[in-house]
């Protein structure tokens, strides 16, 4: 008998896709489909501009560009540059407001 007869059956393509989406993925889809994700993003963007956070980040980028020279800078460089400071310097009030909105959405979308 050929060894090939004993090999495991080819996984069913449909079955493979049947991997359960995580709760996170489900909620993400709901956020996007309802348009809430977009609204939240605009809200956060606005708050971050108002409190000067965006200006701070832009200043960091400009300083880096000045140091390294315009031609040598990549988007990746800048992202890595401002991510730690960016995450740490969001004002508490802004964070709280967004978290509250998200939590409200989660509860209303309760499964």
């Amino acid at each position: 008998m050929k060894h090939s007869v004993n090999r495991p059956p080819t996984p069913d393509a449909a079955e493979d896709q049947g991997k359960e989406p995580t709760l996170q993925e489900i909620i993400n889809i709901k956020l996007i489909e309802s348009g809430e994700k977009e609204r939240l993003m605009e809200l956060l963007r606005e708050r971050l501009i108002d409190c000067g956070w965006k200006d701070e980040m832009k200043a960091l980028c400009r300083a880096h560009v000045k140091k390294k020279g315009r031609t040598n800078v990549t988007v990746d460089d800048l992202v890595h540059l401002i991510t730690p400071k960016g995450r740490a310097s969001v004002p508490d009030s802004v964070k709280a407001e967004l978290l509250q909105r998200i939590r409200t959405f989660l509860m209303s979308a309760a499964l």
Partner: protein, 122 residues
Amino acid sequence: MSGPNEDKNTQLSSHFFGDLLDSIIVDVASECHRIAKLGLDRNLEEEEEEMRLSVQARARVADPSNSSETNTKYVVDIFGQTHPSIATEIFECMNCGRSIAAGRFAPHLEKCMGKGRKARLK
């Protein structure tokens, strides 16, 4: 009100907040990158030019071979221009109508307006 659901909610909220923030961070980085590459940040270019000129000027001042005479004649001002020590712009004297060099105007005017009488009015 605490419980496993509450914690999960908190965790999820934080996750999505982080998600939103990361997206915004990438947007800001992308914007700054674009501005840098397109040279839209005029201040940056002006600053680079100023730096260059100030380094030059500093070198010139520090150079011991420059005598103070040469310095006053050929020193560079903050706009990078040099001026001859005697202003050379020419214009017409409003009194006598002659063409006079700006740097010579004051002594000319002294004589010009004093013509007709040697003694000056006090």
